[in-house]
Symmetry: C2
Subunit: 397 residues, 2 copies
């Protein structure tokens, strides 16, 4: 029986609060905090049992420490912004509590996510007898556990890994972005990168495209190579991997909109002089687009995220595909958020549960693939993200 402090009351925070509240045998006491307390109160009002709410500026370490000392959680679940990871880790160390997040640290002024800043906390957490679990969302998170599961049960040696992230949801609007449009647009306009025979290979934005026939009626979708943060930790923790890539689906319509918005300068981040004011185009675009939160009730269809791994077992070549299918409307009915937030929030709760139940408790800073996948895989099936596995005849080229 444990106490948790969840920091962040966006879409993912809402799912984490819902899912923790459902598992009262582990999460005895829950506090939800964010910069805007009213957002926490709104979420609290949706839940089946009472939780506490609080206001906190996650950029302010002394304020965080003060809140942690008041709430006395066993664990802080950080679902705030990636820029705030280090501040929250510092506060956990100072207050002596465990830490979990879903996305790795990014310096605020650089679009450059890397684990190095957080991995540098290894000694501090170990010496303090505290654990920090990094990237306990879906990708990274579940995709990391899928890889560890594949290695443990199905392969002597893994050769190639392809993570395929498909969102086949349709909100019925001509254009909208699921997350913060700034982050969404940056993801697509950045160079791609993948691991190949011991080194990183850079591709132009959206340069590599495949068509993949997704299961359960989703069907053929265009899928593009991107860089994604789990490639860094997976290539480090499974050095046997000759190649590791990450792919995400984008519809032709979505890319058409982004292409035009880039062409006319609407995705720019430099201020433009307009009627004597300085306007940052992408921020004005964000003001025009539908609020991502408003898409929840509108979105129909499914997501399918999983790993295709090629390797050998008992001297035989095998191509293994493990994935989860998640239905946007089913998620919305359960937690009033669609599948994009759901697939991140549920693994955060399960990661927290693994730590609090002692199944994964281990001082230091860890990525999910470094821990035993079995109890986590079992809980995915129990708590709303059931997985399926299959063996393919053809490799993903």
């Amino acid at each position: 029986m444990a106490r948790v402090l969840i920091i962040g009351a966006g879409g993912v925070g809402q799912v984490v609060a819902h899912k923790c509240a459902q598992v009262d045998e582990v999460f005895e006491h829950i506090t939800l905090a964010s910069r805007t307390k009213s957002k926490c109160d709104k979420i609290a009002a949706m839940l089946p049992r009472k939780i506490d709410t609080a206001e906190v500026d996650a950029d302010d370490v002394p304020q965080l420490v003060k809140l942690i000392e008041k709430v006395k959680p066993d664990l802080v679940i950080n679902v705030a912004l990636p820029y705030q990871d280090l501040h929250i880790m510092d506060a956990c160390l100072e207050a002596g509590v465990h830490y979990l997040d879903t996305a790795n640290y990014e310096p605020p002024e650089e679009a450059k996510f890397e684990y190095k800043w957080q991995w540098a906390y290894q000694d501090k957490f170990e010496k303090a007898g505290l654990m920090a679990l990094l990237g306990s969302g879906f990708d990274p998170g579940v995709t990391s556990v899928f890889t560890a599961h594949a290695k443990k049960h199905h392969f002597d040696r893994m050769q190639t890994l392809d993570i395929l992230d498909c969102n086949a949801g349709d909100h019925g609007l001509p254009f909208a972005t699921n997350f913060n449009p700034e982050i969404n647009i940056r993801e697509i306009t950045a160079n791609g990168r993948y691991w190949d025979n011991g080194q990183w290979v850079t591709t132009k934005p959206l340069e590599q495209k495949r068509v993949f026939d997704f299961p359960e009626g989703i069907g053929e979708k265009d899928i593009y190579l991107l860089y994604h943060e789990e490639l860094e930790s997976l290539s480090k923790h499974f050095p046997e991997l000759e190649r590791a890539r990450f792919w995400m689906t984008f519809s032709a319509n979505y890319l058409k909109h982004l292409e035009v918005l880039q062409n006319v300068g609407m995705t720019g981040i430099e201020p433009v002089e307009f009627h004597g004011q300085e306007i940052i185009p992408i921020q004005f675009l964000k003001a025009l687009l539908p609020d991502p939160a408003s898409l929840g009730p509108l979105t129909k269809g499914k997501t399918c995220i999983g790993n295709i791994i090629r390797g050998t077992k008992d001297g035989k070549d095998k191509i293994y595909y493990v994935y989860n299918i998640c239905d946007h409307q089913a998620c919305y009915r359960e937690v009033q958020s669609q599948a994009i937030s759901y697939t991140t929030g549920v693994p955060a709760m399960i990661g927290a549960k693994m730590m609090l139940e002692g199944k994964w408790m281990k001082p230091g800073v860890w990525n999910l693939e470094q821990l035993d996948p079995d109890p986590f895989m079992a809980d995915l099936n129990r708590y709303g993200l059931p997985w399926q596995e299959t063996w393919l005849d053809q490799a993903f080229q």
Copy 2:
């Protein structure tokens, strides 16, 4: 030998000033006026002979009258904004000078162009012994004269008229608009309309599309039905016409950009609340897009504007096509403007010349198709807009 006052120093004003300056046997003295005198001075500095420049607010009738009385022109050539037509007509009546424009009056707050406001000046101009020539650009203007020429020389009876406006120019940029983007976008997002057996038929924006194989190597282009102002006067002045339509080419790329900009709300004219300010999206878009004036030196390729007329002559069915081909780069070399402004500015000069030479001088308010086409057609060939005629085997469906 005459004196003219040109009001408006945009792209068209620049061409009119150039062309009038070339014809010094008619335009002895030229004054160019606009709200911003520096724009006039910049144009004046490009010309082969000296002209005067002046500042004037074309919305201010007393100020206009004062300028006209000072300059003492025989004729005012109005190439200012369509919203200002009536003010300038009023000033001409008060000061006792002739009037010419290239585009009909639009009330500032309604996107609704109609001749009724200007035709209502018929009696006033007639009684004053003054002439007002309406719509002496290319379309309306040359297309009106083309129709009168066809009727005079090639048909006993005209049955259908299709005006085809093709801009096959390429500025090499991903997206830009030729004229003021607000006007350009409004043109495309408005309903289409055409004359059919005595009544107007409305179509949805871009609903009617054809592919036409344009001459002189321009080749096949998508062309869309729009409403254009000459349809009103041509269907009135040639009541024999069973059908009259106007078509304009737009590339798939151009329409893709407009579709996306509409989808995200960037073409909206209602203010949007942004960081405590009110921003009108289309005005912000305009600030992001390349200045139409900057396209001149970049634009390559040709325009082709002309009329296809089906009718009978001596009991035989005939399909007649008369058109002008204009080369963007040739225009730019001659007057430092590309073909879009050139094809409007040259006919304004020729219309003025027709009036000042007495060939078209006639008190009252007139559209170009009401006057003898022959001298105007001859001057098109002389002053940079040569036309060609041909007979087609197939009607334009």
